[in-house]
């Protein structure tokens, strides 16, 4: 048997079960909607705004800076693996790379990009 066979069977069963439980209530139940039932909550205060919360903008700022410096770190790995083979040339390249990133980092710092406000 193909080694992925069980996975395929599992996926099929999971899909069938999900579809079954999604549509079964609609087939079996008797729908008698009325305004009270249609509300999002059947008790308590009526919802007035969107349920999903809003993220303050500063989260986006942090995310933005994180992405850049995260990938910078990722770029160091291939060099680290081949560091001995690349010799001085590789080292110089990386020093230049890190200096460029460092100027950017200092610039972000000075302009207040790292402050939690």
């Amino acid at each position: 048997m193909n080694p992925y066979g069980p996975v395929a069977i599992y996926l099929c069963v999971a899909l069938a079960a999900a579809l079954l439980f999604t549509f079964l209530p609609g087939l079996l139940g008797r729908g008698k909607p009325n305004p009270q039932k249609q509300e999002a909550y059947e008790c308590g205060v009526e919802p007035t705004s969107a349920v999903a919360g809003r993220f303050p903008v500063r989260f986006y700022l942090i995310a933005m800076l994180f992405v850049v410096f995260d990938v910078e770190a990722a770029s160091l790995y291939p060099w680290a693996v081949q560091m001995h083979a690349l010799r001085a040339f590789g080292l110089i390249e990386m020093v230049v790379f890190v200096i460029v990133i460092a100027i950017g980092y200092a610039y972000v710092w000075k302009k207040g990009g790292l402050e939690w406000r």
């Binding site: 001995h84 083979a85 590789g90 100027i103 610039y107």
Partner: protein, 480 residues
Amino acid sequence: MTNVIANPYTSADWNVLYPLGIVALGALAVLFVDLVSKKHAPKWLTLALAGLSVIGAGVVCAQQYGQNYDAFGGGFLLGGFAVVMQELVLVAALGTLALYATLGDEERMAGTIALLLWSTCGAMLMAGAANLMTIFLGLELLSLALYCLCGLRENAIAREAALKYLILSSTASGFLLYGMALLFGSTGSVALAAIAQAPVAGNPMLWIGCALFLVGLAFKLSLVPFHAWSPDVYEGAPLPVTAFMSVATKVGALAVLARFVDAAVPSAGAEKLLLPLWIIAGISMVAGNLGMLAQHDLKRLLAFSGIAQVGYIVAALAGGGALGLRYALFYLIAYTFMNLGAFAVATAISTQAEEGSRLANYHGLAQRRPFLAAAMTFFMLALAGMPPTAGFVGKILILSANVGAGYAWLAGLLILGTAISLYAYAKIIRAMYVRDEHAHAREAHPVSPLAWASAAVCAAVLLVLTFYPLAPSNVIPLVR
């Protein structure tokens, strides 16, 4: 693990990148000065540093003229073509710096100028790029910096324009990149030249790859089915950025397109592969000029004009002959100066609060500032392709290239497009020279020396270029 990977590049490879390196270092220097100054770097110092690095790069680049060298294993082809294209990008950067000297605000000058210089680097890299990696790197360096530059104005329209530009242009990059991936898959090499050697028959991946690659490029050039972004983005972006964008992105993308056409032409299916490109160039000439008729904003008008002008230049490449390429390059040089000149005039009549891009601002300009009105008239005539200008010479050259290569229908569309465009350009000229009854109510704009100077220089260069056909025809030896 003691095997040593030797550095495969010699100093000859690095020499090729000197102009690029000077501009990139200039950008870093600008940021560094801003970093060490107390609050922010003075405007004049930022602009002086940037101007020096651009001029320095231009001088170094000019010294490379006449050398031919395949740097980095064919990643960057140094030659007459690359040098001329790089110089055009540098001219655009210098012109934009002059506009920033007039319009920019001091507080965020350093960041803005650094982005502008990096964008310049991207376009310069594209000018010589001959493999998929350098093309992609140059394109993204150019575009990413431009997205930021577009949004650098405290105004909702500018930011929405930046968002729109970011999303649409990145999508186009996605198409281009997927096309590159398929090209790499079907040829087994990242060199553009490998396209010509790949078997064409029964190789759908090559076809799809080329098609996606061309769609991405057509978007960056804003050729007609993919042009919808450019008027909105041009209108929203700050005036100097629009000026830079209208020249540098087009120079960069055209350099890549020319190399692609050059690489694809020897292949067996080139006729079929490139025909859609000539067709959209033809449509762009007519549709771009038609779009100009309804505009009331100089930036939008020049966006549509740019669509048509790029149509002319791409059409000149039809047939893939060396002559067509040379004429395309000539027209591109002329286009650079016409556009920069027009934007310099628009800057000269701008104030800090309001950019002088509404056409209403040009009413009666001839009474208030006769020099600016005359210069603008000259640039409009050049864009329209009327006789005493380089635009006219360029169009005649393109017509002859088209007819010579057997694409007479493209020549016909060019004439049709030109006829349509005359009305739109004439509208501006008429507005400037009409007697303005509210003249006393309007103040003459203060003289802004750098904007005036760049308008004058652009006009002078266009006049000189007009006599190009009289000069020895090997002025631009396009070996590659």
